[in-house]
Amino acid sequence: MNRVGIEPRAVTRWLILGVIGLLMALPIVAMVEFSLRGAPGEYTLDHWTGILDPENERKYRGLFEGVGNSLLLAVVTVLIVNAMLVPTMVLVALRFPKLQRWLEFVCLIPITVPAIVLVVGLAPVYGVVSRIFGSSIWTLAFAYGITVLPYAYRAVRAAMDAVDIVTLSEAARSLGAGWLTVFFRVLVPNIRRGMLAASVIATAVVLGEFTIASLLNRENLQTSVLLISRSDPYVATIFALLALLFAFALLVIIGRVGAVQPRRSSS
């Protein structure tokens, strides 16, 4: 069969990769260049080293708090996704398959609702949330749990579709396994990649979220970066770069964990 039309030649592949890579690298390189600017015509590491200078501790405290808050929110959001969405999806797939379409519909709704509209609806809800859980930053994860639903649902669903979870769970049950064993020892290992992908997406969404936090008067990475950018655009750029680097590192690490081959022999 003619190769033309099936896959591009190696040169074309590298060309496409190069052009896309360049387009993506350009703003990052520009950010790095900007963060290194000193006196006109000179480059310096002062802006980078200044972040950790004890003298600037007060100046950047809010920024570090924002970073910490976003990381905490990412962790709680990932926990919400894995502890609530995954068991719900498994339960629906095994016991209430007719509800699958409804679950999918409900999970995809947030993608059609702009964040600002979501906040309008969430504001009175957070009045109640604050009374029950207090106004601590982590409560924002309830809202983030909703915003990441569409992405997390698709990632987990793709993993579930790749294995016959109904037959696997029936086989495990017939061999004497209880529901918890079925879930943790049979199903979770087989949808692990989907769960990891959902976690990565959730983390990325949380680290990049601005609207909800800003309108609900909470402080996270993005609101802090905006605030500091008014007084110190260099540091704002550095933190934006670090956030990108963190997301990239997370992607690589979790991707590698997900790709680990199953054990070759039993213990």
Binding site: E170, S174, L175, G176, A177, G178, P262, R263
Partner: protein, 346 residues
């Protein structure tokens, strides 16, 4: 590997009903399986055979009736406590575990010690001829090998009953026959009560002690393979078990006149009048004189040949005969009947 219960477990279905919204999958099924017996549930799609097996496994809750294991009602016993070994139609090995870990799974659930677990799993794998494949994963095995591992996994816990839900249907013909024979060998060796669901009549007749033919949620007839084949109690059974020709004729005095030939009826009490006789292809033969027919097609089937012919009135029928005769298409032949009793179509 030896059976802990060499006499097997008695299984009884008593008026078992399973009602789905708008559909009755089981309609008062009564079935008694003796300890160590191999019973096949045979029937077309949707007849309720899989529902019956799943009800015994505990994967379906029955609406009415009783399912007894050695006289005890298991209705309230959950799947994981019923002590059944099950092999599924689709491949059901846990993909993230090795073959050995898969086989050990049931033992692990029963908290069997590591050393004993390993020994018993290895024995079970030896039994199905896969002793050297313990460290492989499911995706590294063929379909037949995967089903063998599933069989070892189902048997290693020494269950009360072995349930086979069309385990051969995804396999190619040769592997299918091999595994079918192997299942029977192992079943006899262990003396385990076995319920085998299939829609393939040849498979059911080949391995089972008794075959239950199901239709619309009921057992139409249950009996030894020979009984079902030679003395079907209904046209449905005659038609489903084996290939039957449908020949119109006239019933009179316990016999049916088919193209001038009188054939005895399996159920002679039938009132006189027009009817359709179900005649097996092997009960029709070529003869020097008899009913004239024209050869339509002829197929070589290895040990025998099957030829389709058309009678003068257009009725088509199949004739099963030896390979030494190879009639030419379009040739005029004459047919005779062996005189074996025939069933009538409903």
């Amino acid at each position: 590997m030896t059976a802990s219960t060499p006499t097997g477990t008695r299984v009884q279905f008593r008026a078992v009903t399973k009602q789905y919204p708008g559909h009755r999958a089981l309609d008062g099924v009564d079935l008694d399986i003796a300890p160590g017996e191999f019973v096949a549930l045979l029937g077309p799609s949707g007849c309720g055979k899989t529902t019956a097996l799943r009800s015994l496994a505990g994967l379906e809750q029955i609406t009415d009736g009783e399912i007894l294991l050695d006289g005890s009602d298991v209705a309230a016993t959950p799947v994981n406590r019923r002590d059944m070994g099950m092999v599924f139609q689709s491949y059901s090995l846990f993909p993230h575990m090795t073959v050995l870990e898969n086989v050990e799974f049931g033992l692990r659930m029963r908290k069997v010690g590591a050393a004993s677990r390993r020994t018993r799993a290895e024995e079970a794998l030896e039994m199905v001829g896969l002793g050297v494949h313990g460290k492989r994963f499911a995706h590294q095995l063929s379909g037949g090998q995967q089903q063998r591992v599933a069989l070892a996994r189902a048997l290693v816990t020494r269950p009360k009953v072995l349930l086979l839900d069309e385990p051969l249907s995804a396999l190619d013909a040769k592997v299918r026959v091999q595994l079918r024979d192997e299942i029977r060998r192992i079943q006899l060796e262990l003396g385990i009560t076995t319920l085998f669901v299939t829609h393939d009549q040849e498979e059911a007749l080949a391995v089972a002690d008794r075959v239950a033919v199901m239709k619309a949620g009921r057992i139409e007839q249950i009996g030894a393979p020979e009984d079902l084949y030679q003395r079907p109690s209904s046209a449905f059974v005659a038609d489903f078990v084996g290939v039957s020709n449908r020949l119109p004729g006239t019933v009179s005095g316990g016999e049916i006149d088919v193209h001038g030939v009188l054939l005895p009826l399996l159920a002679p009490a039938r009132p006189d009048g027009a009817a359709v006789a179900l005649v097996r292809p092997e009960d029709v033969r070529f003869a020097a004189a008899g009913v004239a027919a024209t050869v339509l097609t002829t197929s070589f089937l290895g040990a025998l040949r099957r030829t389709r012919v058309a009678l003068a009135d257009g009725t088509e029928l199949a004739v099963q005969h030896g390979t030494e005769v190879a009639p030419a298409e379009g040739a005029v032949v004459h047919l005779a009947f062996t005189g074996a009793p025939v069933a009538l179509a409903d």
